[in-house]
Amino acid sequence: MATQLTRAPAVLAPAPQRPRPRGDTVGNWRWSQRLAFGACWAAGIALCVVAIAIVGYMAVRGLQYLRPDILFSRPEPGLAQSETGGILDPILGTILLTLIGIVIATPIAVATAVWLVEYGRPAALARLVESGIEVVAGTPDIVLAIFGLAVFQLHLFAPISFTASGGGVFGRSFIAAGAMMSLIALPLVFAATREGLASLPARLREGSWALGKTKICTIRTVLLPQVRRNIATGVALGTGRIVGDTAIVVVLLGASLRIDPQGNVPGLSVLRGTGSTLTSYVYANSPAGEGNAPQKAYAAAFVLLVIVLLINGAVDLLGRRSSHVELGV
């Protein structure tokens, strides 16, 4: 700041006089500008058309096959379409997996962001942490899935994994899949929290320190309540990503369409067990998968789309509200 102020800009050469445009309308533009203008419009409209097409097509096909009993009945083994049941388990699986992923990701992400913004020393470690999170954010989900499988097949993780009677560890369970899913959400929660903390004015921190408060007390009482909305936005974005992810589900949650508990401990048995989500259900029932029941796939895909759109709407709403909040700036 001070260095900028020390030197006033040198006297500017008089700007070359350009003829004032006579009316800034498309008619007066050069052809290259008209072309670029038209291309911008076309790109925007094309995106809208694609979005409407996806939602419209899925709505038509989905609503065609969606019956209330499909929503509330479990998948059944059967050859005929009428015998294969509904999508209750995939819906529950989606919710459970998302919950696990978010519950694991949020505290870690928030803690990391707080450390980075409020402490961030040594600087080399801070840079390392940031690039580490960038690597996680940039890793394709199928790579995360394969890596997760390699890790959770270790005997160490037998207690949280679907296991064969001989003692073989499959490395597949809700916990295993949820743990890898948390890596999908973590960078988003982290980035949102970091941005929120970084945007808080320094006088908020100094005001608290000047009252004889420690850094940790300041973070807990003054700063974190201020970034609650940022965290919520990050969580909502992460939720959207987890709900939409397929590769990790297919690789790490097992191939069973029904939620298949392992062991006898209530609760834990579900977490240890395998299951499915809407994405893996769509994959399994599409002609590309093994089920070849496109009607069910369309119905499930439509439900998935509605869930994702609802989450996006919630993110928008959160973002809009947070811009209205006075931050004491």
Binding site: M1, A2, R121, P201, A202, R203, L204, R205, E206, G207, S208, W209, A210, L211, G212, K213, T214, C217, T221, V222, P225, Q226, E326, L327, G328
Partner: protein, 303 residues
């Protein structure tokens, strides 16, 4: 519509110095709205024959460096209870840095380093636990910075000591009300302490910050241009408040507004490029300055 429209005003917090009013030759009073003063109370006027109280803080050869740059160069002065010490000087001359050294807030800046001694009641500030020190040497900032909580919680937050069982609302209420009273804010609030603090006006927010700072009964109150973000009316109210507060504690105020320094201060320290050029009673510094630099500055020749 040009690209330059995008650029908003600079963050006032970053701006160390705001342009001050042209300094007066004689004592000038800003038009102020009379305050509701309880009958019988003496009108606000500086007591000329001050009997300055006991010494609270003493600086001995204080130097502060930011990385390589020395911004405070061997300043020695003492701060007494019962008087207002105003630090004046042109922008970037180390006034704010000096102020922030007194409660060790410069330690939050990684590049800052300090030499010389700062004593609070004859004890080196390094030897006092920093949270305890800051409860005894409170600070009010340039921008009102109430926390985004209720009015009550803002002050309760200051009162609560860490690592103790958190006292409840009933136990804290008298202390909170007392702090608000002393900051002259209580009557304006109409008993509603649960309002968000950010809903208050700028002047009220600053007085809330003062209430928060004095809630712990500090011995010294540091004020870093407390009025530069406020309108003249709020400024007058706060200046009046400073006059009240100096009875019970030592006040150090950094100001760019020479008229304000003239109005509120008992003693004035003029700093220039990190040096303490002149230190003396307010009338002496403003009306018969010893140093040529002080004479020029007070006369408005530079700044």
């Amino acid at each position: 519509m040009s690209m330059y429209d995008e650029v908003g005003p600079a963050d006032p917090f970053l701006e160390d110095d705001v342009p001050s009013l042209p300094p007066p030759r004689r004592r000038v009073r800003v038009d102020r709205t009379p305050l509701p003063v309880e009958p019988g109370a003496a009108p606000f006027a500086r007591v000329r024959d001050r009997s300055s109280g006991p010494e609270r803080m003493r600086l001995e050869g204080l130097t502060v460096n930011y990385a390589e740059a020395r911004v405070v160069k061997g300043v020695s002065l003492s701060i007494h209870q019962g008087e207002v010490l105003a630090l004046i000087g042109p922008s970037g001359c180390g006034k704010t840095t000096l102020l922030r050294t007194l409660n060790r807030l410069t330690e939050a800046t990684a590049t800052a380093s300090r030499g010389g001694r700062v004593l609070l009641d004859d004890q080196e500030v390094e030897q006092i636990e920093v949270t305890a020190l800051r409860r005894r040497v409170a600070m009010v900032f340039q921008q009102p910075n109430p926390f985004p909580m209720s009015i009550f919680d803002n002050i309760a937050y200051a009162i609560r000591v860490q690592n103790r069982k958190r006292p409840g609302r009933r136990e804290l209420e008298p202390a909170v009300v007392d702090a608000l009273r002393r900051a002259g804010l209580y009557d304006e609030l109409g008993g509603d302490l649960d309002r968000p603090a950010l809903r208050l006006s700028g002047g009220q927010q600053q007085r809330l910050c003062i209430a928060r700072a004095i809630a712990t009964r500090p011995e010294v109150l540091l004020m870093d241009e407390p009025c530069s973000a406020l309108d003249p009316k709020s400024t007058a109210v706060i200046e009046e408040l400073i006059g009240e507060l100096r009875r019970e504690l030592a006040v150090v105020i950094v100001t760019h507004n020479l008229a304000q320094a003239h109005r509120v201060a008992d003693r004035v320290a003029f700093m220039y490029l990190g040096d303490l050029v002149e230190l003396g009673d307010v009338d002496q510094v403003f009306e018969a300055p010893q140093a040529q630099r002080t004479r020029d500055y007070v006369a408005g020749a530079f700044g």
